[in-house]
Amino acid sequence: MRRPFEQIVTEYGPMVLRVCRAVLGPHDAEDAWSETFLSAIKAYPDLPPEANVEAWLVTIAHRKAIDVTRAAARRPTPVETLPDRPARTGRPEDWDGDLWQALKALPARQRQAVAYHYLAGLPYKDIAALLGGTADAARRAAADGIKTLRTTYPGDPVDTEQKEVAR
């Protein structure tokens, strides 16, 4: 028997929001989340009971993120040239601007591979199915992304951890 969709929102909503934020940044993440869950609730009654809900949602989110990116590209002013606005709530913990700057600088494939593997927990073969190519290629994309982030993102947790130890 299928669970009430509300439980799906509770259990996976925060994960999908992280993925959308990592892939699209603060402006468009919430639109992609909304499109993802609207599409998901529509299709939910037909989802096979044995389906992996996480992979299913990330697949939808992946497609919706592409739609949102295309829509953004059609805007008169490319979003890349806009100054980065803070999250809509204005709370600093909503979004770390430095992390987004570093993620944004990655090739889209690497950013997606990092988000789908490290935030959604998808295995590389599932990520390969989304991005095309082999599981090994997906693994390399994620590894390359992480490697670059370590050098470009000032909030590198190695530093943070050392600071914590020093306290």
């Binding site: 509300e6 925060p14 929001l17 609730i41 992480i146």
Partner: protein, 204 residues
């Protein structure tokens, strides 16, 4: 323990939980689903003197009222199986029902005027429950009287079952059906809740 070089920690600045954002997104999802006609069941819980009531509605009307002792999660799972899993916590559809139930518990309302979706009750049970709406506020009938009124004088036990499985307690007043000896008898919300409702109605 995560190692300092754990790539997951590199992304720790992305909050794992963002309550305000999720609240905003849930509300937006409920509104969009409602607008597109795919929100098959909207629900909320309502605090009352007999505990939190679960209220659930389809497009047609109120379809389920459940007491806390009936286990709201179990009730929602059951609705997912019997009606549709497209279920969201979306209070707006229950605004009018909530208002009327609040008024009832405040002693300011003696009958409910709400669209009801009867699909969870069939056949004889439904005939019994339909009759219950004719038992006025503050009055009671015995199970035997209800059986007679429903056209099956010998079906006293079946009347008991119909009341026990009433999908819309409080609103469809199965609490007004009592034993022939005048004692309250069983109730889905517990004997205490039944006493409370009967007292509420005689006090008003």
């Amino acid at each position: 323990m995560t190692s300092p070089s754990d790539p997951g920690r590199l992304l720790a600045a992305l909050p794992a939980q963002d309550g305000p954002a999720m609240a905003r997104l849930r509300e937006r999802l409920a509104d969009q689903a409602q607008r597109e006609g795919i929100l098959d069941i909207a629900y909320r819980t309502l605090e009352t003197p007999v505990g939190d009531l679960l209220l659930a509605a389809t497009d047609e009307g109120l379809v389920k009222v459940a007491f806390a002792v009936q286990d709201h999660d179990a009730v929602l799972s059951h609705l997912a199986g019997s009606i549709s899993p497209r279920i969201l916590n979306a209070p707006r559809r229950l605004d009018e029902a909530s208002r009327q139930i609040d008024e009832y518990f405040a002693g300011r309302r003696t009958r409910f005027d709400l669209p009801l979706d009867w699909r969870l009750s069939k056949g004889f049970r439904r005939a019994v429950l339909t009759h219950l709406r004719d038992i006025g506020y503050g009055r009671t009938e015995s199970y035997a009287q209800v059986a007679l009124a429903a056209g099956s004088p010998r079906a006293v036990r079946a009347v008991g079952t119909a009341c026990a499985t009433n999908p819309l307690p409080v609103v469809v007043p199965c609490h007004r059906v009592v034993r022939s000896d005048g004692t309250a008898g069983q109730y889905a919300g517990g004997a205490e809740a039944k006493h409370f409702l009967l007292n509420l109605e005689t006090a008003a």
